[in-house]
């Protein structure tokens, strides 16, 4: 019973924390890659 309880706690932590973190990391990688290939224009953004 204790093992099941521990398992469900661990699972809920993984879902509750990992659920939002994984898309954030994927998006961060994609955005970082794009910025690596594309630099700021020399004349500014105005």
């Amino acid at each position: 019973m204790i093992t099941l309880e521990v398992l469900s706690n661990v699972l809920s932590i993984i879902i509750f924390i990992g659920g939002p973190i994984i898309p954030l990391l994927l998006l961060a990688t994609a955005i970082g890659d794009w910025h690596k290939l594309n630099l700021d224009p020399p004349n500014g953004t105005e």
Binding site: S12, L24, A28, I31, W34, H35, P41, P42
Partner: protein, 421 residues
Amino acid sequence: MRRILRNNRFWVWVAFLMIFVMAGLYAAFLVFTRGLVVTNLKDLAPWGLWIVVDLSCIGLSAGAFSLSALTYLLGRDFLKPITRIATFIGLLGYSGAMMCLLLDIGRPERFWHGWVFWNVHSMLWEVTMCITFYFLVLVLEVFPMLVELPFLARFKGLRQLGHALHRFTPVLALIGMGLSLLHQSSLGGTYGVVAGRAALYRATMPLLFIVSSVAGGMAFTTQMTLIVQWLKRRILVPRQVLFQVGQMAGMILLVYLYMRFWDSTAGNYGYVPGRSEADTFLSTGTFGLSFWGWEIILGGVVAATLLIGARRLNSIPLLFIGSGLTMAGLIANRWNTTMLAFTQPLSTNPATTVPLTVHYSPSVVEWATALGIVAGLTLLFSLGMRYLPAFRGADPVPAEAPSTTVVANAPATAAPAGGDR
């Protein structure tokens, strides 16, 4: 079919958001016609998901007043591009907050009562007036951007009015800062004055609310800018500006964490009836994961470290993750603050000092309206970023290819690529 979807990605996105908007409108219709009985709100838990969304919208919109003050009052002109985005986010955020309040007050046809029947002893009245006036300030600030839309070109009077208003931006920034400082802190004060809720009743709530909202607002604006640039494939804000704003947000977040630590420790010498139980419940009970995981560790310590470190390491991914975690931390804080209060009944009877748990989980109607509001704001933000000339941005410069590739592909007559072009 796939090609059609690929070529119309923006409109697929709009259609996707519209599903939630329509569901939200239907749920709002149920609330307006049948009353709050369709929600899971009750006497012991009168504020729920809507108030969390309301407080989060307002907190994440704080980039508008803080960046406007830096730009127009302290003369940091290099922040102008990101301040425009922050102001637009602010207008949408406050619109969302007002939609939540309209649903929550229970008698939506009386929404105007606060403006006419003044109750100057009520914290909520002060918040209502400040939010109303600040919303008007944001409308005036965004108006010059709206009149630049190409299809409004024939209305010359509108454009002239827009240009005239634009000249008053520093004045509007000053008024906006005053109103924001008042109501961002008063939202914390609204909780802080509730003597019957031991978990909230303390003088530090206004300070905690305003400092966390400034950090959250700046970080949220940074994150939204990065997403828009990536989707539009254009540069709206120079990356050094984004790094600087991120670093400021990180530093303010550290100040907030210090204040939170001080508030939790120095504010609790010995046993404080009700408050001590609430703190234990917050840190070890069902709130434990969202408090330690999201609010303090990920949304606090990790987020501040990433935001401050991103500039030094020149890393966009770290900046993006840091700002996303700050946003999540702020939402978790507003959730924990609102929900923790309702784990205790009103202590009208002095003998009732042991907290009793009140169960609250939002109903389907509450979720549908909340998601509908968030989807509606996202839709308006997407349309604004796509069509408003102020957010046109500039074409990026392709990064120099690695030297081996350049040499391999270069024509025989081309000059050597060189290290710094």
